[in-house]
């Protein structure tokens, strides 16, 4: 049993320490529903949140797409061990062996060998289609051998959504709406933050907190429909708790078997090991044996099996979780970018529910990320200190202006603006700073990360390409050839 008073106090404490504007939690406990809410869904207008406030659930979406493919398995349209190519004949990956052998199961558990390659889609999500991104998979280099290690990424879920469409003839969104939302009675729920959530009267606004300045700033709703199958759903905790309950009840809601027991168990089963060395001190002694199922993470938390999936998308951090066999699960939604609150709330409320000794999860997580930020900053400053001062590029900046292209990553345009290089890369804000010689640094404030980059010149000292370290899992830099 969850002590509601204590849970509410814990929730408020977590918001205070994480600076998250609001959180809504709906707990499903053996058929009973309880909601806990704290904070403001709209800071500027001082509007408190509740369980009917809409948030973006981010990557918690992945479990819906995995379930959609499992339902299609129930329908006899495919099996998890079918090669993707059987259903998408023109499908191609970088490695021809993977092209032939990649299965539906492989794409749902992050073992295809691809790292994130996030910048293939993030900067140009408004201008590219899922089919085009699927086509461009053939240009993305893997960073690990096939089925070798679990590497979390989004492209394979994009592919999963595309596969739903190819097999069912319906867009994956329509399929999920009809086969999952409808029988569960999930409403409101939608797939587009910029259009549909923005138009919804009871929507939370997304925010980010700057730990340096202590400021909370509003973030724009993002239309991520192109990568939607990896994270585009928006809903409320009251609705999402129905989804969590479906998992605890092994695919059944009322008399309707939405997804067979066999297939839903497949989602919660360990499919791929996650290296548990180096998860950091933060969870040491509490979590163990982490793995990925199909669209879900699985771990042993204080000796109990916990199935969960978080989500992070511009301005929002989410968490859906349940403990199989206990009848206990939660939907947790917050309106803070890259928050610690979603994780902290999950572990804190689980501790409370089972009466385990309390751990200050929000403090542990906040300290952990503060340390990470600090060491990243120090590493960057150290690297800067080691670079020679006043070492100008070997070419005039104007020579670098032009259009650059990489077949996987698309196009970016460089211009010179008041003595500095300016990067136009779709809708993503990118800052380009000179470091030394032909070395520059690209940074994307939305991700809070910076990438070393350098220009390649030919024998005539013409700038011919930009090499950017956009995918840290791959040693070689991503090469953008100058095409104009």
């Amino acid at each position: 049993m969850l002590d509601i008073k204590k849970a509410q106090a814990a929730l408020e404490n977590i918001l205070k320490k994480s600076h998250a504007p609001s959180a809504s939690v709906t707990v499903y406990d053996n058929g009973k529903i309880v909601s806990l809410n704290a904070g403001l869904r709209n800071v500027e207008e001082n509007i408190p949140t509740d369980e009917d406030t809409m948030y973006a659930i981010g990557s918690s979406t992945k479990a819906f797409v995995a379930a959609a493919l499992c339902i299609l398995c129930d329908d006899g349209k495919l099996t998890l061990d079918d090669p993707v190519k059987k259903h998408i004949p023109e499908f191609e990956m970088y490695d021809s062996y993977v092209t032939e052998n990649l299965t539906v199961r492989d794409i749902l558990c992050h073992r295809c060998g691809l790292p994130r390659h996030e910048f293939t889609w993030y900067p140009r999500m408004e201008s590219i289609t899922p089919a085009e991104l699927v086509h461009r998979l053939r240009y993305l280099k893997p960073s690990a051998p096939f089925r070798y290690t679990m590497q979390y990424q989004n492209h394979m879920f994009l592919l999963a959504g595309y596969l739903v469409q190819r097999i069912s003839g319906q867009k994956w969104e329509d399929f999920v709406r009809e086969r999952i939302f409808k029988p569960l009675g999930m409403d409101p729920v939608n797939f587009n933050a910029a259009r549909d959530m923005a138009a919804y009267p009871r929507a939370a606004r997304g925010y980010s907190y700057d730990s340096e300045t202590g400021e909370t700033k509003r973030m724009a709703y993002k239309d991520i429909e192109v990568m939607g199958a990896a994270g585009s759903i928006n809903s409320t905790t009251r609705q999402m708790a129905k989804w969590v309950a479906l998992h605890l009840n092994e695919g059944k809601v009322g008399d309707t078997q939405v997804i067979s027991q066999k297939m839903i168990r497949e989602c919660h089963k360990h499919q791929m090991v996650i290296d548990d060395f180096g998860t950091g001190k933060v969870f040491e002694g509490y979590t163990a044996l982490p793995a990925y199922g199909l669209g879900w993470f699985i771990e042993s938390y204080r000796g109990r099996k916990l199935v969960h999936h978080g989500g992070n998308i511009d301005g929002f951090s989410a968490m859906q979780c349940f403990l199989p066999g206990t009848g206990f699960g939660m939907s947790i939604l917050t309106n803070q970018n890259a928050s610690t609150a979603n994780n902290a709330i999950m572990y804190t409320l689980i501790d409370l529910y089972f009466g385990d000794e309390a751990v200050s999860w929000v403090d542990r997580l906040e300290d952990f990320y503060a340390d990470m930020r600090k060491s990243a900053k120090e590493a960057r400053e150290k690297a800067r200190a080691e670079t020679p001062e006043n070492a100008p590029p070997t070419f005039a900046l104007e020579a670098a202006a032009g259009t650059y292209e990489n077949p996987g990553y698309g196009e970016l345009v460089l211009t010179v603006c008041s003595g500095k290089l300016n990067v136009e890369w779709g809708s993503m804000e990118v800052v380009c700073e000179h470091v030394s010689y032909n070395h520059f640094e690209l940074s994307a404030p939305v991700f809070g990360t910076a990438f070393p980059a350098s220009f390649e010149t030919d024998a005539a000292n013409r700038v011919v390409a930009l090499h950017a370290d956009l995918e840290p899992a791959i040693k070689e830099r991503i090469v953008f050839k100058k095409i104009r």
Binding site: H270, M272, A291, K305
Partner: protein
């Protein structure tokens, strides 16, 4: 519970299990609270009335796998080996049936049972005049049963491969390397890597037995030295206590560093998921998160991480295990075929050491084994009925006789004897009972293997050209060509 109390309780439980399971002897080591103790007993040699104690030598069978995995990790510490390098980089002649695996199988894949190769055990049981090098050479003739790395499948020959790799990278016979680098620093003086080094030569060794139809029978000692360190080591619980403490100490034993903590993580952390039903026929609710590291099984037992590896060979059953971070290690040795006392005692030791409620593991495993025995009997009965009602065989016995050959499995001989046919397989003659037309049943009941179907095929002229038998149940029947 103090160690003294635990020893008393265990002695009592072991006595009960010995009686229930008819095991001549069971001996146990437990390390807890910084101290080790030994318990159990019975007869190591029933005919000569030799009592078993902590210095009695037993075959430990597959618990040998962790020794060679540890040897490989020591070579990694020395920079001579990299778990993620293809085996072919070290053994240029290495070849698998599947050319992709020939090129891509890494050392980690080999030690984690994810090569796609099934057991093919009959191959090395059938042909004993071969070396570890021959076994590795024949891998190219053994078809896989699964897609590369798609699932864990337990087998032996990848550890023969690791044995060959150890010889190649250390430049020493593997026995010398393991003796110098592991046995000596640990003071494991009664551990033997080759049966011929101790059988009949040193006092106090256990003999193998089986219990059938209410009778205890002595078995022949199965020397599998030709397989290398996938199962040929013999040891005592006195020595295995030290071995378990080395693993518990993450590579350090009494102040001596044998392998690095980094490699301890590789050995003891999950690398490959084992899904329910993939490894053991029983699913106990106390056991979850089952996986394989490198030479070790890992699971969550009642919420606690347990690392272990058992062994099974004619007339012996063993188990070595430890609870990382809890300071608990143990070993169990016994001399009765397929008895589940080590598995039961492993969990019982965990229950006692962790102060958990006791579970009747002996009863549970007994029920599982009884159930399996019943099913096997029913299966045998079905085949016997089919034989009784079988149509006549198509050809005279003389037509079937001859020598048959498969490049991986070696030679089988079919001869006429006493008006019937016998097949020489697994180094012994087994009657071939006619089961209709060209199908026969090899009677392997005395080996506990029931009946094995053997089918003959002939060409257009009616001459017998081949024999096929499902010697590896995960693959299509193995075809042996008749030799001219």
């Amino acid at each position: 519970m103090t160690n003294q109390e635990m020893k008393q309780r265990l002695d009592c439980i072991i006595e009960g299990i010995r009686e229930k399971y008819h095991v001549p002897s069971i001996v146990v080591s437990v390390h807890k609270d910084g101290e080790s103790f030994f318990c159990g007993g019975g007869l190591a040699n029933v005919e000569e009335n030799v009592p078993a104690d902590e210095n009695t030598i037993y075959a430990i069978a597959s618990a040998s796998k962790a020794f060679i995995a540890t040897a490989v990790c020591i070579l990694c510490d020395e920079g001579k080996c990299d778990l993620d390098k293809p085996v072919k980089a070290y053994l240029p002649d290495f070849e698998m049936y599947d050319s992709y695996m020939t090129e891509h199988l890494t050392v980690r894949d080999a030690l984690g049972h994810r090569s796609g190769l099934p057991r093919h055990d009959i191959m090395w049981l059938n042909d004993r005049d071969i070396t570890i090098y021959d076994v590795v050479h024949r891998l190219r003739y053994l078809p896989p049963a699964f897609e590369p790395r798609a699932r864990m499948h337990y087998q032996n020959m990848m550890f023969t491969l690791a044995t060959v790799l150890t010889e190649k990278l250390s430049g020493q016979p593997w026995q010398d390397f393991v003796t110098e680098r592991i046995l000596k620093p640990l003071g494991m003086t009664r551990t033997y890597l080759k049966a011929s080094d101790y059988r009949g030569k040193v006092p106090n060794q256990a003999e193998p037995y089986r219990y059938r139809d209410g009778q205890l029978e002595r078995m022949e000692y199965n020397d599998i030295s030709h397989l290398g360190s996938c199962g040929c080591i013999s040891s005592t619980v006195h020595d295995l206590d030290r071995w378990a403490r080395l693993q518990l100490g993450r590579g350090q034993f009494e102040g001596k560093r044998v392998f690095s903590e980094k490699m301890a993580d590789q050995l003891h952390c999950p690398q490959m998921i084992i899904k329910p039903g993939e490894m053991a026929p029983y699913g106990f609710e106390e056991v979850d998160f089952t996986s394989y590291g490198q030479g070790w099984f890992i699971e969550s037992y009642r919420g606690h991480k347990l690392v272990h590896h058992g062994g099974t060979i004619d007339g012996f059953k063993s188990l070595v295990g430890f609870l990382p971070g809890k300071g608990v290690g143990f070993s169990v040795l016994s001399n009765l075929e397929r008895n589940q006392s080590p598995a039961a005692l492993g969990y019982i030791i965990c229950d006692l050491a962790l102060g958990l409620s006791e579970i009747d593991w002996a009863g549970r495993f007994w029920d599982v084994m009884e159930n399996m025995r019943r099913q096997a009997q029913e299966q045998e009965k079905k085949i016997e009925d089919a034989i009784k009602n079988a149509p006549a065989q198509s050809r005279p016995n003389a037509d079937y006789a001859g020598e048959f050959f498969h490049p991986g499995y070696g030679r089988l001989t079919v001869r006429e004897q006493d008006g019937g046919l016998v097949i020489h397989i697994l180094c012994k003659d087994m009657p071939l009972r006619p089961a209709g037309y060209d199908l026969f049943m090899a009677d392997a009941r005395s080996d506990g293997a029931g009946y094995v179907p053997v089918r003959f095929d002939y060409d257009l002229t009616g001459a017998v050209v081949s024999l096929s038998a499902p010697l590896e149940p995960m693959c299509a029947p193995i075809v042996f060509d008749k030799q001219k």
